[in-house]
């Protein structure tokens, strides 16, 4: 069992103070991203499932910190296809590197790796389970655009049933007294277990099935997600609702001046192109914030102070 547990498996393991400290460090990296504070360190990125977007962001973060990066990004070339266990792969890579950033198609893979690895693990996504760096960049984007994290009105739109980013946002925001609005078709509504989580943690929420200008007028944050065809058991239902959860620019008339629109990306058609020019659209900057947040996460895992 590892004694160095600076691993990041899920945001649920982090205190409010730790979350705020990581966000503060991310802001320092935004002000000055190129810092060679990881000179001589080797970071391994193990992507058992491909995710170019997340891998490039982590690798850029490591490179900007002056670390060297080793790893693989294609399941077909990994030893796991030859029947090697995850444990053996982790033990082998931990001989060469100081930190492992891993993405895996199996749920709980990062937790297990963190238990057996002698070096810290950062979870870059484990199946449908957790993706803490995405949630951290969502938090960073909210704090940056709103000047605070407390008392925000956050509207989550689209697939609230399967969307792991919206679920971990509930967990991470429990410290900050938010009011959530869940806007989703019935088939993709927020699962009961998460609504119960909100009640247990004193998180206010209101549910809607309609998505229109009047519903979103009170939003500070509009968090859009994809409504995917393959999530529906009833395709008639999909045809009926597929266009009902698309954000158009004219729906933003009358919205609050501080409103910002977030999206974990990639987008398909749930935000129409005419929104991109609106100054309230924030999803591209949001993705860029991922870099600074990941720099902060890497330094935290390696116990490196950021000043």
């Amino acid at each position: 069992m590892s004694l160095t547990n600076n691993s990041l498996v899920t945001l649920e393991d982090l205190s409010k103070e730790k979350i705020l400290q990581l966000l503060e460090n991310a802001a320092k990296f935004e002000a000055c991203p190129n810092r060679k504070i990881l000179d001589g360190k080797i970071v391994a990125t193990l992507f058992f499932e491909p995710s170019t977007r997340t891998r490039l962001s982590f690798e850029t973060a490591a490179n900007r910190l002056g670390a060297r990066v080793i790893g693989f990004s294609d399941a077909a070339t990994t030893s796991s296809t030859k029947g090697e266990t995850l444990k053996d792969t982790i033990m082998m890579v931990s001989n060469y590197s100081d930190l492992i950033i891993m993405r895996h198609y199996l749920e709980g893979a990062a937790r297990y790796a963190s238990e057996i690895s002698p070096i810290p693990i950062i979870n870059a996504g484990d199946g449908a389970n957790q993706h803490p760096s995405q949630t951290m960049l969502d938090l960073y984007s909210m704090q940056k655009t709103q000047g605070k994290l407390d008392n925000l009105d956050i509207y989550l739109v689209g697939d609230l049933k399967y969307g792991r980013t919206v679920h971990s946002m509930l967990t991470a925001m429990r410290f900050f007294n938010p009011t959530f609005h869940f806007i989703a078709p019935k088939e993709l509504a927020m699962p009961d277990v998460y609504k119960q989580y909100c009640r247990d943690n004193g998180i206010k929420f209101i549910e809607h099935t309609e998505f229109n200008k009047d519903i979103i007028a009170g939003a500070d944050i509009l968090y859009m997600t994809r409504v995917q065809r393959e999530r529906f058991s009833n395709l008639d239902e999909y045809e009926r609702v597929k266009d009902a959860y698309i954000l158009h620019n004219d729906m933003l008339e009358g919205s609050k001046p501080n409103l910002r629109i977030l999206h974990p990306l990639p987008r398909v058609n749930e935000i129409s192109q005419d929104v991109d020019e609106n100054p309230k659209a924030y999803y591209f900057q949001q993705a860029k914030n991922g870099l600074y947040v990941r720099q902060a996460l890497i330094c935290n895992a390696l116990n490196i102070n950021v000043d």
């Binding site: 266990t85 995850l86 444990k87 895996h104 198609y105 199996l106 749920e107 709980g108 893979a109 937790r111 297990y112 484990d126 199946g127 449908a128 389970n129 277990v193």
Partner: protein, 151 residues
């Protein structure tokens, strides 16, 4: 002396399992593999408990169970009581309850859980001791007593 206790006293040596929820009697029979034993076994159904809820009771003569068997029992029928009888006397009686963690006993029902793909121990956190709800420490899947599959 109540009638139930009289029945308990009726075996000379062995184990009495009491306060089994009425709908779990057969599950308990399965888990302990009672159908494979040659011992005298009495199974009571729909008995009225003190709280006048229906319960089941099983008496097994000349047989005692291992800690592992008892631990498995606790997962599917939390809050049952086990009495050890020697020479018509109850020498030990205790209520089994779910431990805070259930290690390497239960299989995770999520086919995409790492525990179903690696040669590793499973671990569940007990969410609700009374209802018997467990949460996988790896994939976070919650399973209830009705869904439990043993490793």
């Amino acid at each position: 002396m109540g009638k139930t206790e009289l029945k308990v006293a009726a075996i000379e040596n062995g184990t009495v399992i009491d306060h089994i929820p009425a709908d779990r009697v057969f599950t308990v029979v399965d888990i302990l593999g009672l159908q494979k034993l040659d011992n005298t076994i009495t199974i009571g159904f729909n008995l009225k408990s003190k709280k006048s809820e229906k319960k089941g009771l099983i008496k097994i003569s000349d047989h005692y169970f291992t800690d592992l068997e008892i631990a498995r029992l606790a997962c599917v029928a939390p809050n049952i009581s086990i009495s050890l009888i020697r020479n018509y006397e109850i020498v030990d009686k205790h209520t089994v309850s779910l431990p805070d963690q259930v290690v390497d006993t239960v299989k995770c029902s999520n086919p995409k859980c790492i525990t179903n793909h690696e040669p590793m121990a499973t671990r569940f956190i007990t969410v609700d001791k009374v209802a018997g709800t467990l949460r996988c420490a790896y994939c976070n899947r919650e399973i209830s007593v009705d869904e439990i599959i043993f490793k």
